[in-house]
Symmetry: C2
Subunit: 453 residues, 2 copies
């Protein structure tokens, strides 16, 4: 076991309940990919193992002047869509899908997806994101980009019923391959949504998920309008469809859920141990989707809420700091209560709850012995965070992604002093720029799907 | 006249109406503080003056790979409140004022205000803000910080009626001094608000403003609840009070205006040529103030809308990019229309309209011959802005303040390659940190005012 150390760093402690705090001047001890101890700087870690006695730990990072926080988790995204950043603006949700995104997605190829995913991994790592929960096509290519970059990912190969049973079989086969590919890659099943995948296909997905130990990552109840359309067409809300098809029983990450109704809550309460919801509020504002995710109601029935960005074709960034801030701000607005979702609770969503959404509830999302060493080190010394009366307030309301200084994933330094250590950024950017026009080409005709929920 | 040049830069053109565009590879020619020509790189400026023929212009900046935009304008702030950043979180508007801010403000001294203003100027310049429109106490100290830093400012020395006539006279005397102090400093009169300054004092303020050519910067109709309270107590909305006291006739910058009612619009229409409203949407979300500024309605009667941050004691940053993004996002939400406030209109608010709010409608807010050379140069090459399908989308939805590379105010380079050229940042930060505790001290007792609108 390789013993190593982040020396003399301030550490954000996010307890399961109650106030977050910062412990100043700590040493974080690691054994390979795992945190073994966090102790005041210079003191020996408790109960050292035989190995750690024998060898002095290697100093991975001098943390002096930095704040260590759990590596951020992007709880819902479509990473390769960075290739369409800024190419679908000022559109209704219908036009965004039907005039731009789904016609553009006929242009997807394995290479273009890999190039986009590499750019996305670069953007996320530099911004302190150590895990992303992805939902997209050609997920094997996304896995290669993630492995190469050093980031951690949960990948759901995506399918529509309209693509036919062979495409569904292929997506599920990809999930099986990804599940055993690499220690930093996990897989979920990825039906697109309750309005694009039939009940029969959802049932088959749930059966496979239960039999093989997958969970299911999909869009559902994205807006109240979708929920009403579901009731009108199928006599059931999207959550009721997930219930009756066995998806909730298998375990699900539900993206958005803004249209979850109070009447759905008892159903979700029954499945709370295996259900999470990812919220991406910038998208709800930008597409004028109405109220955002009903976080307070979902928390009242024990459902964890992860924070994501959705794809950059609508969110324009993969910046989870931005998303965290908007969760806190929009929740206060939505609840008409400035005291709701206080700092510590907002930080808990971005850490422990998002780890649950990433399907790693016990190994990610907190800096404590036994958890993976996915750690983001921030430099809060710039004027926009000073004076630093309360570092928790800085993390929610003033920090910028550019304050990320150094990033570790599974104990490996993947960003050091604001530079990627594994990806060649100039090459990643050049490749993305050279292919960007091919992704937004609307002359090919057709569309991968039609939005009519 | 000193002839100079920003060479080979892309330039954002914001027309008075219609779509914004980017003109690639331009030379921006300056004569002292003023833009004289913008021409394709390497071509001579049209109709050169005798002087410019005689001397080759000095290359101030090589703009290769950068995008020039009009220097941002913070249309409403209280700059020294950076000293309270993060010290008043998760509070209702009543508690924010009465439990924290107004008790803290008994600690204000000229030195503490100057130190806070220096930090604020550093933060704003590094983020590409070239002008701030301030409303605070000890404005003479703020002026010194602004002059020293190289930023431009419109300063309104602030007063409550509760402080007594001598305090009001002193604030107005300060405004008179500031009006002639320095080419980059202008002054407005600064009654605090319709609910903290009596109608008699507003009338006197308006009389002085008209006689001496000042405009008036104050808070009014911050929330619908304030408007209703005003109707209940005084039989008039805050806008009606501004009308009957002559404030609108003198010319006013109204901060927030979220509580402006449809019935107020005809009044504002009559004064549209001399009225602007500043909007700071992060604050409206964070304090759960309900709907934000009714931008669509105000635009329909010809009132320009500037974009501001308010003070960092509630906004936590002085980041106008953040504020611009939130204006666009929250307006789509508020209007329930994703097509409302499209990119070009949002950029127009941040530039031309904000210049009107800064009381410089014809000299700031656009890059065109005859305007002041207040210019922010952005580096959009980082992954979070790439690929760059639409630079206008990047400016509204993905840019970070950390993308600001170089900043000019009145033709002077005040930030070069992300470093301040005039302020010693380490000294500014050390000074702010050393005094930070004195500002948030709640043991002194008392308060500068009580919030009971």
């Amino acid at each position: 076991m390789a013993q190593s150390l982040i020396r003399n760093v301030d550490v954000l402690i996010v307890p399961e309940v109650g106030e977050c705090r910062v412990d100043a001047a700590q040493d974080i001890h690691l054994a390979d990919a795992v945190i073994t101890a966090i102790v005041p700087t210079g003191t020996p870690p408790p109960a050292p193992t035989a190995e750690s006695k024998a060898t002095e730990p290697v100093e991975l990072v001098d943390g002096t002047g930095l704040l260590a926080v759990p590596g951020l988790i992007n709880a819902h995204t479509h990473s390769p869509m960075v290739m369409m950043r800024g190419a679908a603006e000022d559109l209704s949700i219908d036009d965004w899908f039907n005039q731009r995104i789904w016609p553009m997605e006929v242009n997807l190829t394995p290479e273009r997806v890999r190039v986009g995913a590499r750019l996305a991994c670069a953007e996320m790592l530099l911004a302190g994101v150590t895990t992303f929960v992805d939902h997209y096509f050609h997920a094997d290519q996304i896995a290669q980009a993630a492995i190469e970059s050093g980031i951690r990912a949960d990948l759901a190969p995506t399918y529509f019923s309209s693509a036919g049973p062979e495409a569904i079989d292929a997506a599920i086969a990809t999930a099986r391959d990804l599940a055993t590919l690499h220690p930093r890659i996990s897989a979920s099943l990825g039906p697109h949504a309750t309005y694009t995948v039939s009940d029969d296909d959802l049932r088959r997905t749930a059966d496979i998920a239960r039999a093989e130990g997958f969970r299911i990552h999909l869009h559902a109840a994205e807006t109240e309008a979708q929920t009403q359309a579901s009731v009108d067409k199928h006599g059931a809300t999207p959550i009721e469809i997930l219930d009756r098809t066995g998806v909730l029983d298998a375990g699900a990450l539900i993206a958005h859920g803004c249209g979850i109704r109070d009447a759905d809550l008892p159903i979700l309460a029954r499945h709370a141990a295996r259900t999470t919801v990812a919220t991406c509020p910038k998208v709800y504002l930008k597409l004028a989707m109405g109220n955002g995710t009903p976080i307070k109601q979902l928390q009242s029935v024990g459902v964890p809420i992860g924070i994501g960005t959705d794809g950059a074709a609508v969110h324009n960034t993969l910046d989870v700091w931005e998303s965290l801030r908007l969760v806190a701000l929009t929740q206060k607005h939505q609840q008409n209560n400035a005291e709701w979702l206080p700092l510590s609770d907002a930080l808990r969503l971005a850490t422990r709850h998002s780890a649950a959404a990433a399907n790693h509830p016990t190994t990610l999302g907190a800096l404590e012995p036994g958890r993976q060493a996915d750690i983001t080190l921030l430099d809060l010394s710039a004027p926009h965070n000073q004076p630093l009366h309360d570092p928790r307030a800085a993390l929610v309301y003033s920090v910028r992604a550019s304050d990320v200084h150094t990033v570790l994933v599974a104990g490996e330094v993947v960003v050091r002093n604001r530079q990627l250590t594994k990806l060649d950024l100039a090459e990643v950017l050049a490749e993305a720029r050279s292919l960007a026009h091919t992704l937004v080409d609307l002359t090919q005709g057709g569309a991968v799907q039609h939005y009519a929920p």
